[in-house]
C-alpha cells in the first residue's frame, strides 16, 4: 500500500542574502497508513519546519514531498489550503480556539469553513465532543474549560472532518503529566480507530510509548530512529486506549 507521506531529500531555508539560514538539509522519510510517527529533537533542529512542509503549509526549497499521493508544490496557495481542509487535521500547542465561541461552535466553525452545512456540522461536532468525553460541556467557552478539555476540543476539531493524516505540534506542552497522558491516549486511540496516520512533534518523552516510530532530527537532518517501547509496554498501553 502506498505510504501516506513520502519525503525525499527535503531542503528548506529562511531569510535572504547573507541572512539566509538552512533549517532542513536533506530529510527523507515515509509514514505508512495508520502509523503514528513522532518527530523529536532539540529546539532549532527543524521539527516544526518539517511538520509545516509535511502538512502542506510550506513547500520545500529542494527535494519533493507526496502527501496521499499529491505533491503540494504543484498546487497553488488556494489549492493547498483546500487540500489541507479535505485531507489533513492539525492540533496546536496552544489549542488556538476562538475564545468567543463555545466548544461546539469552534468545531462547527472549522467544518462550516470547509463547506459543511450547519445541521450536518452541528451533528458531527456533537458526535466528536461526545467521543472526547465533553458531551456535557459543548456550550462552554474555552475560558471556562481546563487546558486538558481545551486540547480535547482541539482534537475533536482536528478529527471532525475525518482527515487521513493528523499533524500535532507539541500537543502536550501546555498540559501536566496526567492530562498529557490522557490526551495522547485519546488522540492515539481515535486516530488508530479511523486508520489515519499521526505525525507528532514533541519534546515530551513521557508520551514516547504511544508512537510506532520516533524520528530524531538534529541540525536539520534525520539522526536516527528511536525505539519507542517494547512489545509488552505497547500491549499494556493499548489496553488503556480501549474505553
Amino acid at each position: 500500500m502506498q505510504p501516506t507521506i513520502e519525503a525525499w531529500d527535503v531542503h528548506k531555508g529562511f531569510g535572504t542574502g547573507s541572512a539566509w539560514r538552512s533549517i532542513l538539509g536533506g530529510v527523507s522519510l515515509t509514514v505508512a497508513r495508520g502509523e503514528t510517527v513522532y518527530l523529536v529533537g532539540r529546539s532549532g533542529s527543524g521539527k516544526t519546519t518539517l511538520l509545516s512542509i509535511l502538512g502542506c503549509i510550506l513547500t520545500p526549497d529542494r527535494g519533493s514531498v507526496r502527501i496521499l499521493g499529491q505533491d503540494p508544490a504543484q498546487l497553488n496557495v488556494a489549492q493547498r489550503a483546500s487540500f489541507r481542509g479535505r485531507n489533513l487535521g492539525f492540533i496546536f500547542q496552544s489549542f488556538n480556539l476562538f475564545p468567543t465561541l463555545s466548544a461546539l461552535d469552534n468545531i462547527v466553525l472549522a467544518l462550516s469553513a470547509q463547506g459543511v452545512g450547519r445541521k450536518a456540522a452541528v451533528l458531527q461536532a456533537e458526535t466528536m465532543l461526545e467521543q472526547v468525553g465533553l458531551s456535557q460541556r459543548i456550550r462552554v467557552r474555552p475560558a471556562q474549560l481546563s487546558t486538558g478539555e481545551c486540547q480535547r476540543v482541539a482534537i475533536a476539531r482536528a478529527l471532525a472532518g475525518n482527515p487521513e493524516v493528523i499533524f500535532a505540534d507539541e500537543p502536550t506542552a501546555s498540559l501536566d503529566t496526567e492530562n498529557g497522558q490522557v490526551v495522547l491516549q485519546l488522540l492515539t486511540g481515535m486516530v488508530r480507530a479511523r486508520g489515519a496516520s499521526l505525525v507528532v512533534v514533541t519534546h515530551d518523552n513521557r508520551i514516547f510509548p504511544f508512537a510506532d516510530r520516533i524520528l530524531e532530527l538534529e541540525d536539520g537532518r534525520l539522526k536516527q530512529e528511536q525505539a519507542p517501547h517494547t512489545g509488552t509496554q505497547r500491549r499494556s498501553m493499548m489496553k488503556g486506549l480501549v474505553a
Partner: protein
C-alpha cells in the same frame, strides 16, 4: 458561518459596545442633520405646502414664495370662467414693520389673503380663529414668534407700519425660513395699510387657484396658460420644490449640512473599522489557525461581512431609536427636525456601506496571514 460570526461578535461585549456606539453615533448624526435640513427646507415652502391652493400663478421666473413681484390682480378675473377652476383669488406677500411698546421694531413677512375666500390664509391656530383676519385691523401672529414681537396677546393693539392693528389670533408653528415672522391679514389691509413696500393699486403678488375636485391639473394649467400667457403657473408641489431649491442654492445650506453628515459618517467609519480591526487583530492566531486548517478567502469574507452587517444592523437600530428621542426633544417650529422614513432609510443604507468598507481593513490583515505562523515558536 454567518451565524457563528454573529455569535462571536455578540460574545465580545466590550468591543461590540464600542462598535455599536460608533455606528449609532453616525446614524444619529446623519439622521439629525438630515432631519434638521428637511425641517429648515420645509419652512422655505411652508406657505405653499400647507396652503389650500392647487396652483400658484405669479411673475415670470418666480423662484421663491417669499420673494414675489407685483402682477395685475385683474388677470385673476380671466380665470374664474375656466373649466375646472373653483376659486382664483389674489394673494399678497410683502413686508412690514412691527413696532413694540418699548420702541423696538421687527421686520415681518406680511401675508394678505382675499377676505372672501381666505385662500392661502393661516391653517393652524394656537388661539382664536383663522377667520378673525376679517376683523377690522385684524392680524394673526405666530405663537412661536411672540418673543420677537414683544409678547403680545390676543386682543392687544399694536402698530404695523405705523398703523393700528389688533392681534386677532395666534397661529401655531407657521414660521418663515427667514428670521422675519409671518403676519396674516386681509389683502386689502395688507395693500392699503400695513405694507411698507408700496403695492400699486390693482396689483397683487400671486393669484392662487383652487381646482374643482377631480380636475386634471396639467390640463387645467394648459387652459389657464392660454388665458394668462404672461404668467408662470406652478403646481403646489412644483413651486414648493422651487422655493426650497432657491434657498439651497443661494445659501449653500445643503453643502454645510451635507458636510456635517459626511463627517458623522467618517467618524462612524473610523470607529467601526478600528473596532473590527482590533477584534481581528486580537484573534490573528485563531484566524491563522483557520488558514492552517484549510479555510479559504470565501468563508473569511463571509465571517467579516456578517460581523460588519451585524454592527450595521444593531447600531442602526440603536441609532434610529436614539434619533427619534433626540429629534422629539430638539424639534421646535423654528428648527424642526423632520425624521422622515427616507431620511432614516438613507442613514441605514449609508452606515451599512460604511461598515462594509470598514471590514476591508481586517480582511486585508487576515488575507496576508501566514498559516505557518501558528506553528512557529
Amino acid at each position: 458561518m454567518e451565524l457563528l460570526a454573529l455569535k462571536a461578535m455578540l460574545a465580545d461585549r466590550g468591543r461590540l459596545l464600542t462598535g455599536l456606539m460608533g455606528v449609532g453615533f453616525a446614524v444619529v448624526l446623519v439622521n439629525l442633520q438630515g432631519g434638521l435640513y428637511l425641517g429648515l427646507m420645509h419652512k422655505a415652502s411652508l406657505i405653499v405646502d400647507c396652503g389650500q391652493a392647487d396652483l400658484w400663478l405669479g411673475h415670470r421666473h418666480m423662484e421663491s414664495v417669499d420673494l414675489p413681484a407685483a402682477i395685475p390682480q385683474r388677470w385673476g378675473m380671466r380665470l374664474r370662467g375656466v373649466a375646472g377652476v373653483e376659486r382664483a383669488d389674489p394673494y399678497i406677500i410683502t413686508y412690514s414693520e412691527f413696532a413694540m411698546p418699548d420702541g423696538r421694531h421687527e421686520r415681518v413677512v406680511l401675508v394678505g389673503t382675499d377676505a372672501a375666500g381666505l385662500l392661502g390664509n393661516a391653517w393652524s391656530m394656537a388661539a382664536g380663529n383663522p377667520q378673525a383676519v376679517r376683523q377690522p385691523d385684524g392680524i394673526l401672529v405666530d405663537a412661536c414668534e411672540l418673543d420677537k414681537l414683544g409678547w403680545p396677546q390676543v386682543g392687544d393693539l399694536c402698530e404695523l407700519n405705523g398703523r393700528r392693528a389688533r392681534i386677532a389670533g395666534l397661529t401655531d408653528g407657521i414660521v418663515s425660513f427667514t428670521t422675519c415672522p409671518y403676519v396674516f391679514t386681509t389683502l386689502e389691509q395688507a395693500r392699503t395699510k400695513y405694507s411698507i413696500i408700496s403695492i400699486p393699486p390693482g396689483c397683487c403678488s400671486y393669484i392662487l387657484v383652487k381646482a374643482k375636485p377631480g380636475t386634471n391639473l396639467p390640463d387645467l394649467i394648459a387652459r389657464i396658460q392660454k388665458r394668462v400667457p404672461e404668467l408662470d403657473i406652478r403646481t403646489k408641489s412644483d413651486y414648493a420644490q422651487r422655493s426650497r431649491q432657491y434657498w439651497q442654492v443661494r445659501t449653500g445650506i445643503g453643502l454645510s449640512f451635507g458636510l456635517a453628515a459626511v463627517l458623522g459618517l467618517l467618524v462612524g467609519l473610523v470607529i467601526v473599522a478600528q473596532t473590527l480591526y482590533a477584534s481581528v487583530n486580537e484573534r490573528l492566531t485563531e484566524f491563522a489557525t483557520l488558514r492552517a486548517l484549510g479555510t479559504g478567502d470565501g468563508p473569511i469574507v463571509r465571517f467579516l461581512v456578517a460581523q460588519a452587517l451585524g454592527h450595521a444592523g444593531l447600531g442602526s437600530g440603536f441609532g434610529i431609536v436614539l434619533s427619534q428621542l433626540i429629534g422629539r426633544v430638539l424639534t421646535t417650529p423654528r428648527a424642526p427636525v423632520l425624521l422622515s422614513a427616507s431620511v432614516m432609510a438613507g442613514s441605514v443604507v449609508l452606515v451599512t456601506v460604511v461598515c462594509m468598507v470598514a471590514a476591508w481593513l481586517p480582511y486585508r490583515c487576515i488575507r496576508g496571514l501566514d498559516p505557518a505562523s501558528v506553528l512557529r515558536k
